[in-house]
Symmetry: C2
Subunit: 274 residues, 2 copies
């Protein structure tokens, strides 16, 4: 099931990620990796402290080379956003001012709808220690902030980029409950298959005197069927279960395990039902 072409599609589109005066190459690399994980590719750096290119960044990017290779460096934030139509600033603290404040979900939806109409967009992330200045924030259209633990609110830069990238990816999904792969079978078995299973196990138990005393047999069958049908078995699951019953039914134990024999002591068949 794995390895179809569509599963390997490289996604590389969407808002630019703009890091303002990042300090550590490792952080820039982790940002690149997080972007690649969720299909973003355009990284811009404003005045990175340790220069560019950066071996540490490339190493931390864990093969997100397409992001690292395409990274652009600017002297000022004004230059870094010059060609963009709409920009978010990420910040963990309230600013005085008139900017609308959005959740990551709302911001991602806004970025997605602007992307679909052809606008060029970006998201600003601040310095490791001090975040964005008020002057940086003033250049953005709106603010985005994360719903964090109030007593432990500090996200590192790669984490913040990861969360926005993840919400960006989700904003492009028709259904956020969809998954890239699914379980092998989802539909419950037919009732015919289920009743066949009931009859199989009941016959094997009956042959062993499980339904004892016999006047309780209807109630015991009710209980057993309730237990076995609470979870809706699929067809392949019923095949597995029927194999188990057949094995227990037809074959004698060959090498009794000492522990298992001990654990079974004192257990009587047919008395766990009422």
């Amino acid at each position: 099931m794995a390895g179809t072409n569509s599963e390997r599609r490289m996604i590389a589109e969407g808002p630019a990620i703009i890091l303002v005066e990042p300090q550590l190459g490792e952080n820039i690399g982790m940002v690149a990796r997080a972007m690649a994980n969720f299909g973003l590719a355009e990284l811009r750096l404003v005045n990175p402290r340790d220069g560019w290119p950066s071996d540490k960044a490339r190493s931390a990017a864990a093969k997100a080379d397409h992001v690292i290779d395409g990274t652009q460096v600017f002297d000022t934030l004004e230059e870094a956003i010059a060609d963009l139509n709409f920009v978010y600033a990420t910040t963990a603290r309230q600013r005085d001012g008139f900017k609308p404040v959005r959740s990551p979900v709302t911001a991602a939806e806004t970025l997605r709808s602007r992307f679909r109409t052809g606008e060029r967009t970006g998201i600003l992330f601040g310095r490791e220690k001090s975040g964005l200045t008020n002057e940086d924030v003033a250049l953005a259209d709106e603010i985005v902030t994360f719903p964090v633990n109030p007593a432990f609110a500090s996200l590192n830069i790669a984490q913040a980029v990861l969360l926005m990238s993840y919400e960006w990816m989700k904003s492009g999904m028709d259904d956020v409950t969809a998954t890239p792969f699914q379980e092998v079978e989802q539909a419950p078995a037919t009732k015919d298959e289920l009743i066949g299973f009931f009859e199989h196990i009941e016959e094997a138990l009956d042959a062993r005197g499980y339904f004892h005393p016999i006047n309780k047999k209807p109630k015991m069958i009710d209980n057993l069927r309730a237990v076995l049908s609470r979870r809706a078995f699929t067809s392949p699951e019923l095949s597995v279960m029927r194999g188990v019953i057949s094995s227990l039914d037809r074959f004698q134990r060959r090498r009794p395990h000492p522990e298992a024999a001990q654990a079974g002591e004192g257990r009587e068949p047919g008395h766990d039902d009422d």
Copy 2:
């Protein structure tokens, strides 16, 4: 506005995060930090390669000491989940088998509803290099997987924990578009305030001969009002704008800036309207 008690509330509840045979202390520390960011506190380690406690983990946890101090270590995964009622396994690849596969959003909602009914829950995360084995996954109730770029799907362990912790936090919010703080003012100004602003600026312009030729004045006013009302100004914003107009209107330029004077060359007031 900042610094109220409610803003500093420490959240520490919810599913246990269980790392199976983690290798690097740094990763364990970043996991602890991610948990603390989104209000989780219970970290369990199965057979960590470099032992426990770990100075590297504490350092990377960036002061999430309550998580590090409470971390429990187990020899086996079976022991680590023994007291739990419901467990998710995180995996990036499809497994043969019968486990339901959920998105992070669905998984977080499921964990939240089980938490509210008093169940104890957990989320399994695999080894840095190889993830969870099929045997590990078999011990979980359901699988959770992330919507990633198909060609760049590998999340590191701290990133995966961060995303699940973030979705956990969101699952407890009544409204995922809510933000921990809001802009200072959101309501648009009244029309009375807005019209007062229009009249202010129009009077100042009229006094300068802006509305030229005079027969175009009604159309020019229409255009100007359209520009000024497209974005709904708030009351404080109108105060700022009226201050700007008053300053331009009442005070002569004191120290003409050479560049500004040059940039203004060739611009005639009153001719940018049609």
